[in-house]
Symmetry: C2
Subunit: 623 residues, 2 copies
């Protein structure tokens, strides 16, 4: 029967149709915890160098954290990982919802899938058992249909489904993995890895869940977070897009492929407008008091099905302002398409926005676009392209490769407008307004990624000083658009903490402090763990991913920003600010030094790997 | 009235006979805490480069930690510091007893003395007031007499006295500062700094002490330590010298100037023999349940006065086995002389042992030694030399300069046998038996020092694994006399922790774990502090001392061991082991990298100083 805390790993070889279980020792869990840490260990320790991300050798890893599923606020996250088809490096995306907890209830802390099935299959994991089953009837279907069919066929409406969607089937390089049909493990193209294996879905169900070692030990952290409930009233009220208007006001709402920071149609797509016009319900992930998720419906110009939830801020900006689109139903419908097909809304929106800018500049013409008018703001073109990308039809087939590959295929100077790092498109937080964030964008093992990054905002106010003090920093407030040397130092520690949160299975929204994380892990596992030890777990996991990238051919020279961010971003006061090249280079040098990364290879030094207790990782760099 | 926690600093200019008070803000305390951190800040930020340690410009700093005097086990330590007359670099020694708490009760967290008095004076600090008073009648007297006279003259038997002794008056380069006449701030020659100022004593007395912010918050840490009382039953029974026989058995008892590791007379000088033959009482520092201090008495061949306590392990080995002396009363008398005159017993013993070895080798003769027969084991010569050193009489005047200066003055190849790093003599823990300890000896800012160092022993047993795990290390047990790369990494973190304990005012004997230290500091100060933040305080304080040393002319090339430790140390099995040069050099390189120290200058890099929130420290290196 399921253990659920530090338990079994299910290994599935789809080529051989073989299943086996692994039970790592407790020390393994204590060292890597789960999530990112487990994925990085698996990729680095157990895969050969240089494999094609879409080949059978690439393992697709679903990894819970030790805490995933525990009775603490927002403790329901897990991570998915593989070698990324989009970047060619460390691929990872973490996700909320209910699937991660259910996997653990079903008896497994992680599922590792290798090989390739000859025909479509799905995996059915339930109460300590697992089987590979035929998925012919699921192939090609929208995600909600697949989820419904699986629940019907298996006769349990409580089954939770993770799946790759049609975009993954078609190997779109930024296909995501949908969970519960409205939560995406979005970044780095993991849906394409799943599709390449012809694994359409993993259905999980468990009827037991282990007691925490010390259930009362969870009380303090839980009470702390619940006591702060008022703080996220806005999040609950209008979702993650509640801040669109204020972002627009200061000029940091990504608009028309990051060319501008203010969008004339911002009010039409902001969170409160969604609430007024489309919202039919609020949704939540497992055990979360925040409930930032939206459920929207429309029978207007676009028919929007509430089954697919509703657009988050990233989607609003990526498919909306970034494409110059102010048509709310079109954005909501675009979101629905992405969820139904399994597309990362960020990369989808940024890729379309890139095409629109190239179209406007005459670098792309109607001859390239199947006759589509790709003017910014053309919401019909936007939604058609989403569909075309997922189906790899016509011009969509090119865009399905992502901005970098598409630009290189087209040529004509279009790469100049591709907004990516390491091939991954930028999230909707402009680094020209948050210089510290730019350090993380350039250096993250997954490319441009906001999830495990350092956002400068906490430095603006004294109120957040306590959180930074908890991590050892006594600093004065500093504006977002400055780059004093302190920011690189703070980024180095904050990013380790964020990676730790990923490894452990906690959402970044509740303002847990390191000792809460410690208390939670100690209560769940019974380990006499410290926050100091935990920060090192985050650092270790980050280091492993950097070693992996170095092994796969990345170097320090790849830690860059695209040309777009050298351009001044116009601000309301008429002044424009670009990323300061010299300061940023110095900040990245400093960041490297503090992380213990080699300034040429970009990999952690042997000394750092020794300090982190993973000298074995250095060996993979010798070859 | 006294604040006592994060309160006032008393500045005394003895030349101008001027006193002033400073009240640092809370953030200053939070960043540097006290002890070593305060001293390093004072030396680096407020003294010019290149001053003579014995000049009026050198500040002599007595600094409590924020916790000093709180109601927790072994929470009574403070530190004394200045530019060292022995090393020419960062000078620091921490000490127990009752003086530190009394200084805080008297209203000050630290006392900083500069200038030079024209005639002998002492400082009288009581309940928020301070005055400089004439000390003509105290000058030249033994420490116990001075303490008695001060208590009589000032009319309060509860006065606590710190003083430099006759050795300090005579500027012996390893003169210590005696507290309570039987506890020494022993290392780096701070007594000579005090003597150079003609400040014979600081008498302190306070009748109030502040409540901790949360007195109940101290309970858990206190209960934890008290619950482990059985663990140090041996310490209480036979003192710190209780382990002499077992050290001798394995061959790690420093004998005859570290030439050997076994001493045929070990049983005569071990702790249990002291207990049987000389012990009249056990003594303790403030609030300490361990009571490792001895009180001995003898009316035999040597008259030993219990007023001066009794010899600790370091003294037993330095004046005993290291000099080949097995005469227990002689060792106890030598200890008494050191305490009465204010001499560091370690440097005293090692300097005499050096002379004995040179004498045996014919490099020194009776012509040099005022006719003394300096054969190893000549206890009369040993005690006469202690007296001669303190009084700077005859051959003692040369030895009062320490091994390095004495050897350079004599020449004849005698430096080959000087057992020192940076001019400071080695404590009684042979690095050839603890390779990890060797890293700290070579790299400590104070030279060969065991106080804030990494002792390998905890790595030998699984029982201590939890403590290392608390600091983030999951390691297998490893023998002391090995140097896997992990040891350098562990040393880097452990040494930060030890320096933190110094800054905070806690003794290293009770096995406090980082979260206890956090709890104690939080309860005392009311700060919402974390163990992560605290480890960074230790790291910051260590970094400041390294910057100071670099500013004063030290470089990485000075982080060495003396030739003695390249020689194989004979072991009971006939095998001999020297410090492995290549492995040690690699370990030190690794240690540097992990501390963020420049491999040439030996100073922390600008990046590290930025991370630690002390970018100002980098500026002092530019000049």
């Amino acid at each position: 029967m399921p253990n659920g805390y530090c338990g079994r790993i299910l290994h599935v070889d789809l080529g051989a149709r073989a299943l086996r279980e692994e039970l790592p020792d407790e020390r393994f869990y204590r060292k890597y915890l789960g999530g990112w840490g487990f994925i990085a260990h698996e990729l680095l320790a157990r895969t050969p160098q240089g494999i094609d991300p879409l080949s059978p050798e690439n393992p697709l890893v679903f990894a819970a954290g030790v805490v995933t599923g525990a009775a603490v606020p927002a403790g329901g996250r897990h991570a998915v990982g593989a070698k990324s088809p989009l970047t060619g490096g460390f691929g990872e995306a973490d996700v909320g919802g209910f699937w991660g907890r259910e996997m653990k209830a079903a008896g497994y802390d992680a599922i590792v899938i290798t090989g390739q099935s000859a025909s479509p299959v799905y995996l059915w994991v339930h109460d300590g058992d697992a089987e590979i089953r035929d998925a012919a009837e699921l192939w090609g279907k929208p995600t909600a249909d697949v989820q419904r069919l699986l629940r019907e066929d298996l006769g349990d409406p409580k089954i939770r489904v993770a799946q790759c969607g049609v975009a993954g089937e078609n190997l779109v390089r930024y296909a995501c993995i949908m969970h519960d049909v409205n939560r995406a493990a979005g970044r780095t193209g993991l849906g394409a890895v799943m599709g390449s294996k012809r694994l359409r879905a993993i259905a999980v169900r468990g009827t037991g869940f282990p007691e925490a070692a010390d259930p009362d030990g969870l009380d303090q952290a839980r009470d702390y977070i619940l006591g702060l409930r008022d703080r996220w009233a806005g999040f609950r009220e209008h979702g993650t897009a509640g801040g669109v208007l204020s972002m627009n006001e200061v000029g940091r709402l990504p608009t028309r492929n990051f060319r501008e920071g203010q969008f004339e149609g911002a009010e039409k797509i902001t969170g409160s407008t969604i609430t007024e016009r489309l919202l039919v319900a609020r949704d939540t992930c497992y055990a979360c008091p925040i409930a930032c998720k939206r459920v929207v419906q429309s029978d207007g110009a676009y028919t929007v099905d509430p089954a697919y939830g509703g657009p988050e801020y990233e989607t609003i900006a990526a498919l909306g302002s970034s494409c110059g689109v102010d048509h709310l139903e079109a954005v909501a419908y675009g979101n629905q398409l992405c969820n139904a097909y399994g597309l990362d809304t960020i990369s989808t929106g940024v890729t379309i926005a890139w095409a629109m800018e190239c179209f406007e500049r005459g670098l792309l013409t109607a001859d390239d676009t199947d006759g589509l008018d790709l003017s910014f703001g053309n919401h019909e073109a936007m939604t058609q392209l989403v569909e075309g990308i997922a189906r790899r039809q016509g011009f969509g087939d090119l865009l399905a490769e992502g901005t970098l590959r598409a630009a290189r295929a087209i040529g004509r100077g279009t790469e100049r407008y591709a907004v990516h790092t390491k091939g991954q498109e930028y999230p909707m937080h402009d680094p020209r307004f948050q210089f510290g964030l730019g350090i993380g964008y350039a250096t993250s093992p997954t490319g441009a990624d906001h999830m495990h990054n350092f956002h400068d905002a906490p430095l603006e106010s004294e109120a957040r000083a306590a959180q930074l003090q908890a991590l050892g920093f006594l600093v004065d407030p500093m504006p977002r658009d400055t780059l004093p040397r302190e920011k690189a130092a703070i980024a180095a520690t904050i990013i380790r903490f964020q990676v730790l949160m990923n490894c452990i299975g906690l959402c970044m929204f509740p303002p847990y402090r390191p000792h809460h994380v410690r208390d939670i892990l100690a209560a769940v596992s019974g380990w006499d763990v410290t926050a100091i030890e935990l920060l090192r777990v985050g650092e270790r996991a980050l280091a492993l991913a950097r070693v992996y990238n170095a092994r796969e051919g990345f170097a320090a020279a790849d830690d860059t920003h695209p040309p777009r961010f050298a351009e001044p971003l116009p601000r309301p006061d008429g002044q424009g600010v670009g990323l300061p090249a010299k300061e940023m280079a110095e900040a990245i040098d400093l960041y490297y030094e503090l992380q213990g990364w080699d300034p040429v290879t970009g990999a952690p030094t042997p000394a750092k790997l020794t300090e982190l207790g993973i000298p074995w990782a250095a060996e993979s760099l010798d070859g």
